[in-house]
Symmetry: C2
Subunit: 694 residues, 2 copies
Amino acid sequence: MFHSAEPFFRPRTVAIVGASETGGGGWAKAIYQNLEYGDFPARTYLINPKRDELWGNKVYPDFKSIPDEIDLALTIVPAQYVPGVLEEGVSAGLKAALIYAARFGEGNDPEGKKRADAIKLLCDETGLVVCGPNCMGALSLHNKQLFYPATRVRSLSAGDTGVIFQSGGTFMFWLERASVRGLGFSFAVSSGNELNLDLADYINFLVDDPTTKMIVCMVEGIRRPLAFKEAARRAFEAEKPILMVKVGRSAAGKEAAQSHTGALASDDLVLRAVCKQYGVTCCYSLDEMIEAALVFKERRWPKGPRIAMAGYSGGGKGLFLDYAEDEGAVMATLSEETVAACETEIDEGLSGQNPIDCGAGIAFRQKAFSWLCQQVVADEGVDIMAIQGQLPTRDDDPANPIIFSDVFDATDKPTIAYTRVSQNVSDAGRRFQEASKMPFVQGLDSTIKALQHLVQYGAARDRGIETLPGSSGDIVSLEGDRLGRTLGEFGLALPKSITASDVAGAVTGAEKIGFPVALKILSPEASHKTEVGGVSLNLKDPDGVKLAAQTMTANLLARSPGAQVQGFLVQEMVDGLEVIIGAREDSQFGPFMVVGFGGVTVEATQDVSLRMLPVDKDTAREMLDELRGKKLLDEFRGRSARDVEALVKAICGLSDLFASHRNQLVDFEINPLMVGAEGEGVKAVDVRFVEREE
Amino acid sequence: MFHSAEPFFRPRTVAIVGASETGGGGWAKAIYQNLEYGDFPARTYLINPKRDELWGNKVYPDFKSIPDEIDLALTIVPAQYVPGVLEEGVSAGLKAALIYAARFGEGNDPEGKKRADAIKLLCDETGLVVCGPNCMGALSLHNKQLFYPATRVRSLSAGDTGVIFQSGGTFMFWLERASVRGLGFSFAVSSGNELNLDLADYINFLVDDPTTKMIVCMVEGIRRPLAFKEAARRAFEAEKPILMVKVGRSAAGKEAAQSHTGALASDDLVLRAVCKQYGVTCCYSLDEMIEAALVFKERRWPKGPRIAMAGYSGGGKGLFLDYAEDEGAVMATLSEETVAACETEIDEGLSGQNPIDCGAGIAFRQKAFSWLCQQVVADEGVDIMAIQGQLPTRDDDPANPIIFSDVFDATDKPTIAYTRVSQNVSDAGRRFQEASKMPFVQGLDSTIKALQHLVQYGAARDRGIETLPGSSGDIVSLEGDRLGRTLGEFGLALPKSITASDVAGAVTGAEKIGFPVALKILSPEASHKTEVGGVSLNLKDPDGVKLAAQTMTANLLARSPGAQVQGFLVQEMVDGLEVIIGAREDSQFGPFMVVGFGGVTVEATQDVSLRMLPVDKDTAREMLDELRGKKLLDEFRGRSARDVEALVKAICGLSDLFASHRNQLVDFEINPLMVGAEGEGVKAVDVRFVEREE
């Protein structure tokens, strides 16, 4: 399923193909100098048929002339020469190549497409692995292999974060900022258009790499959905969090990403459901991904969502609460003992309840502040601790990082510091942050967002990845009366209904079902029942049913003399909250579930939640909790609370039904599912499905 | 309406009361040193009855001993001594005071409240103006008056931004960051609990100050809504944009702000409507306010919303489009000529359509990039230009700011640069930014947000502030039949209805109204019409009406033998999209309009838009455009587009009705207003109102 990125990331020998003073706008030279700077971590050779010597080294005309086997070729030649270079290389034992150049089939260039096909074929036939084309290179920081055409990469630190960016233009700017903020890197690759090695391969490599503890990526398109899922699963099991910025949430952004990379654009909502399933963190912005990565770097997964905050700014506390509500964050409730302990140290008139504003006084008693934070983080009601802080910008700043590290050392819960507004991070600041043992997340809104990402990852770890059971291979019966029986087996009920051949039968049927009932006339002339007055709702007694049946017969006959009345359908009146639940097969990522509130008004606001199958009860509850209109399930505007338990069961039932009959079904939607009051259950009022064509 | 902040911000003489080496935790000394650093811009005296000399100066026991009249007292004494100090000062001619200390009635301290009342009375009786209490001081940058207890304020630059922060803890951190980012300040004040001088007073002062061109504030509560509105109106007319971070959007955040400041918490949604009316920009975060202020600093108001972007990163372009969709930003469409011109300079296979990804090649041809940006910004379809950039961090960076300033100079449209990820801003970076003549907004999402703020301010400038007409003083009739006539005068129609005394009358009435109709039985025994089968909808012909009237009579009599049937109400059947429109009086800010979609599902998602009255057609359209469910107004799921024109008229009609009868009305809601298909108009199906109690 995966190509090995091993010979690409850990070559013993490297050749720069197209080595010249000015080749590739000076890229060949810049890369050579970076390898020189790294003390030539791999034996390095130069290839250029037009030269004999360069930078004090022999230059070879081709691979076969080199008295060494080359693992990796860095090609700094125009696109049209690349296929020939690689063929020659492979014949001399070449194992991997990095293609910086573009024009391998992006856009509509047929020549480029030919080149791309030739390289793909070469890879398939010989096992050659290729990074790029149209990329900015790669870095292996622990052994200073900097295959990047500029010196600025030298400032990056080695560390435990692996980086995969499909966007080459953004790659280095992100790395530089992340480095300034305190991240270090194991491997980093600008993966370009991923002709051969792709996102899934790189993730897979980083999962196996012992120096990598976390993976961040900027993604424009996922080329091999199944391989991506498998790589994500492996990363999850290895406890290596993946953080991702995904381009193309909007239609316009998606089109841009697609035409830029040539990747198949996935349905963004489905991809997000896949990410939720595999504990992949989707970040909104490149900066957010840095702050979140700093928080994840601590490698403390919260046991729950309850956040405590301590600071000394009333305005900061207010904003923290505002952002917490926006992001659905849960604020911890402290025990009476903790509150009382805290109140011994904070300014008069202020409260020791979370979040704590200690007042300005404590700014001058930082040890007391540290002690207070230790009391708070030790409270059983707290899962995560956030502490107000500010990084020093100068070396002579008297601030002492022990104020923070003492809190960190006193607990095994995630503990972070936050600044209220961004600041430049100097070397002094970064050293302070390291000595504090916790990240200083920049800004209050970024803090809440980063912590919520952590909460969700913690929840994913608790939950694990549920694997999709194999399809049973059976065919279930969904025709006519049998639909009800099949649904029943999965805990999904249709409204009770009885077909009667005449008025008297309708009355008897209604009595059997129980009042109130709905009555519908059955006649070839009444296919649009409402229009011909052929539907009567909410009939409360036998007389009502009788009168309605007679009236609708009279109405129909008045309209269509000679119409044939076949009888009546008597149905249980179903009242409740309209919900849509559906299971569907995504062609890339497999079956998923969608849940939302019914009715055209809510459809227009796209208030839905998606998850990949299987969906268990906890996940079903999570899905409902994500809906903006979730209040509708509670007591609301005088209407009693809805039967959420039955709704959760129905969602799981549909998940089971669909998952076990994927051989048969491609789409199965219940719209509306009527959710009654607590204890009244749910009814599948309208069921539509699409069966697989053989 | 306003207290003058003049003697506070421009004192000729200052006394530090409580001057001592260690007074107020060293604050007295720190403030003295800052005044010394500023070369004593005001004649400065020290007061402390326990000392004779300090820092080489004579120390006076009180105000009256000083051989000079003191304009401003900086009080560094405990709260309980402050009232006495001020009384003595006033008797010696004191005009203004700055109270740093807390404990003037925050929380529930009765002693503090007494102190606050004493000072308020003193201010009222003598005209003394007071800043604080519970604040961090104030700065007048142009004349280096730094009434702040730390040396770090010395790094701030003078400039044209006035700053008012109710949150003292956040004040300096924000100023420092804003300064690093390139803002300079005229006056800055930590306004604290605003016992006397308040937000409105400070805004009013800054409007009159010739050095101030823009006002930013962090607000926890607005103490005098009418004064705030007047100050905001003056700022708008003086073309001095106000940018604001408001704490307390959430219930919890609001409570925190309230207990922290003692200010009356306003309804946040109403305050936001006020801000929209007066062109006040509400920012989400403290960082967002900095980036937006940098954009506003250019003082170029866009003529429209159409944004063009040029860069050389496909990933950046994709993210830009994603964020644009999130924020509802409008992307410009370039003319064919502009596209063709651009395509001469960008990489093969890429498009010259906006937003433009030029490809990596142009990174090395920055002059070509500048030329391309000039072509784009000159296009008639473009209102705002955003250019990819990166600030240099080192002095020896070869980047040339003329690339950017040439674009700025070639146009009078707002033109900004953006970075794709945040960066430290060094002195070199800030100089580059200045020479570029445009801000380098940090991050793509921040860029879109800042530009949208600018677009909205530009729109507000085009629109101006509509003033609320005075109430007519008339009483309109809203009882029974007269409600329809009154509504009619304001362009609001009730459904047609006729009361008939018998079955025949019902049929005639229905024919007069036109089919289909709804029929309701009128009877004291049928107060719950639906339950007794006393309502029949969608009757399509005379026979239907007749049958329904007879049936419901029979039904009623069967249920309640001897029931008195008074007749029937025949009503036009109204079908359409349910909308809620309401006008209401906010006790703090006056009358406002709320618009949303009807039905319980949408109520649960709180999808509403608010504006202060009066609401004109443009504003009404803007309100509809803000609704998440706005798609419902277009053709949607097979339903034809709604009569938006009629809906807009109805909103304006309700605005007129309410505005001109504020003497009578406090609340007037139409729910639902049924919006028919295009050309079919709207009908006020249910009208509820509350009249003012005399």
